[in-house]
Amino acid sequence: MKKFLSATTLALGLSVSSFAVAEPIKIGLITTLSGGGAGLGVDTRDGFMLAIKQSGNKDITVITEDDAQKPELAVQIADKMIQSDQVDILTGIVWSNLLMAVAPGAVAQGKIYVSTNAAPAALAGEKCNPLYFNAAYQNDNLHEAMGEYANKDYKKIFIMAPNYPAGKDSLTGFKRYYKGDVAAEVYTKVGQTDYAAEIAQIRASGADAVFAFLPGGMGIAFMKQYAQSGVKTPIMGPGFSFSQDVLPAIGDAALGVKNSGQWVKDLDNEANKKFVPAFQKEYNRLPSLYAVQAYDAAQLILSAASKASVKDSKAFAAALKQADIQSPRGKFKFNNNLHPIQDIYVTEVVKEDGVLTNKTVSKIFTDHGDAYAKDCKM
């Protein structure tokens, strides 16, 4: 009788979902903490750790390593984390080329990968995987939003992106929704810092607007040079080019620029009203897109951990897919290809109390998925 009772209590205890499963979870966070792209990685790490800290969950260990934005290093770190640290979940990679080097291998070994940013088309369509989740977006999404937005005011647009996979995805995404003429389609060198030649082409093109996808230092350099060039053609871009990590360095040259995001600092929802001050209090700066995405990735993992054992990757993945979280973005759920379905906004760079930041202009897409989900057989 005694035995029976204790067995039922045990079974009951396990089935009640609100109890955190007291089982240690090891998470490997690989992100870029040195070199030119470190700002993005630092925000990723800080956003992720904020959610872990807020949860007070003592069973979760996060091992953080710097990939220095090098694919070969990311692969080595992932191997080490899987084999010697025996992590259950990998996350944190910022760049699509690094993600392509790590994620397919990790999920093939039965590990769960939750992407905090990189979302190459290759993993969203036919090659989607039940253990690969993306908590951010699909790479094309923010560019698609700007394409849709451009239809309203512009007829002839000059489009520009760096010459690498995410750059091509960007212009493809833009053109998927933009209906007007393309004045010129220019690909720049990755890491290029001087844009005089491109700015001269913009001046000569007679375009009525410019769409530029130039993340990190590239965008800073371009915007500063553009402001000095005397060319007045309005600029727009995806949120990455005008995110909180680069705005202070661009300065007033960014004022008034339209860009897009699936999260904006001033979104009116409870989770966001808690998240922004909490992040500011912890790190003494405003959060960026990258911080929000990582924060949600951690929230997703935490919520799944309270429902299933990470040792049973199928059950854990099913729990992740429910996306039972309060995201600062508002609505958030997973599509069949485990990429988000969410709202996307157009925003404008403004100055608030002397600090440059983005404010919402309008919602451009409601419950937006991605163009590749239909090829995913899940």
Binding site: G35, T188, E198
Partner: protein, 306 residues
């Protein structure tokens, strides 16, 4: 319209070349006089940019920042020469490359430690803001014109320094026979420190000038360093004149390649393919030029006599 675009691109190429010259001049001077390959030259460029950004933010004046960049980069150069480089003159180039590579890591992570990973803000001084019309060109940024001016001044100043002054005479003597000049009683150690500090100050100046146009962040020096090496290999290692000519060749090739290749390829390929292929080819162009120069003039266009 086409003519004004072409003129503007020529000017852009010239400006990129002048900026590269500021980097390459210091690099080639140090190599010519001391036979030292200094990979940490890009870090001194970063030091200049950071010094300018920090001081300009504190004082509100770009010009004080610019002066600070010269002083800080020269001081950093002199300290590095005294502590590290001095031990390397008699070693072979592999040791020098290893030690100066270590310096890159120390400078980069040190800067990250002090200033963090996010780019700093540095803007163009109001005096040089905006664009001015030029004959044949609708408008050209004043600041870029100023960079061309500074580069021309530095080139002329270096020419005067090396051919007309006592210090220049010693530098030339040091280039051709360092044992002999030491035997003649010239304090070769001080000379080396001075040359190293001078080269560093030029890198710091370039960093500060360019930092206002680009982003001031950790790791900003390395891409420029690679271009500066291409410049001095084309120009002839150790030759200031070679550095000037090489810098202009690289600046013009790179700018005109980026501008002309995609539309030229567009004549034979579909537009979107021409864009990506043209961009990739343009990125390779300066290395192709370097390979060609090396094939026909293995010691560069203006080889130093040593």
């Amino acid at each position: 319209m086409i003519l004004s675009l072409a003129l503007e691109q020529l000017l852009n190429g010239l400006q990129l070349g002048v900026m590269l010259f500021l980097m390459a001049a210091g690099l080639t001077l140090i190599f010519g006089v001391m036979g030292l390959i200094n990979l940490a030259h890009g870090s001194l460029y970063m030091v200049g940019a950071f010094a300018c950004a920090v001081v300009a933010a504190a004082t509100g004046s770009f010009w004080i920042g610019l002066a600070a960049s010269l002083v800080c980069a020269a001081a950093a150069g002199a300290i590095v020469e005294f502590l590290v480089i001095r031990k390397l003159y008699d070693r072979d180039h592999l040791d020098q490359v290893l030690a100066t590579f270590a310096l890159i890591l120390i400078f980069s992570e040190g800067a990250r430690w002090v200033f963090g990973s996010f780019p700093l803000y540095l803007d163009i001084p109001p005096l040089l803001a905006g664009a001015v019309p030029l004959p044949g060109i609708e408008a050209y940024p004043l600041y870029r014109l100023a960079i061309i001016g500074v580069g021309a001044l530095v080139a002329f100043g270096l020419y005067l320094l090396i051919s007309k002054t006592r210090l220049g005479m010693r530098i030339r003597a040091g280039e051709s026979d360092r044992e002999m000049i030491a035997a003649l009683g010239v304090d070769i150690r001080t000379l080396y420190t001075v040359v190293f500090a001078l080269g560093s100050a030029l890198a710091g100046l370039a960093g500060a000038l360019v930092g206002a146009l680009q982003s001031v962040q950790v790791g900003m020096g390395e891409p420029v360093l690679i271009l500066a090496f291409v410049v001095i290999v084309i120009g002839g290692i150790g030759s200031i004149k070679g550095a000037l000519v090489g810098a202009l060749i690289v600046g013009l090739t790179d700018t005109l390649g980026r501008f002309l290749l995609p539309p030229l390829l567009g004549l034979v390929l579909p537009a979107s393919t021409a864009g990506t292929v043209g961009a990739s080819l343009a990125a390779m162009l300066i290395y192709i030029v370097m390979a060609l120069v090396l094939a026909f003039r293995p010691r560069g266009l203006f080889p130093a006599k040593a």
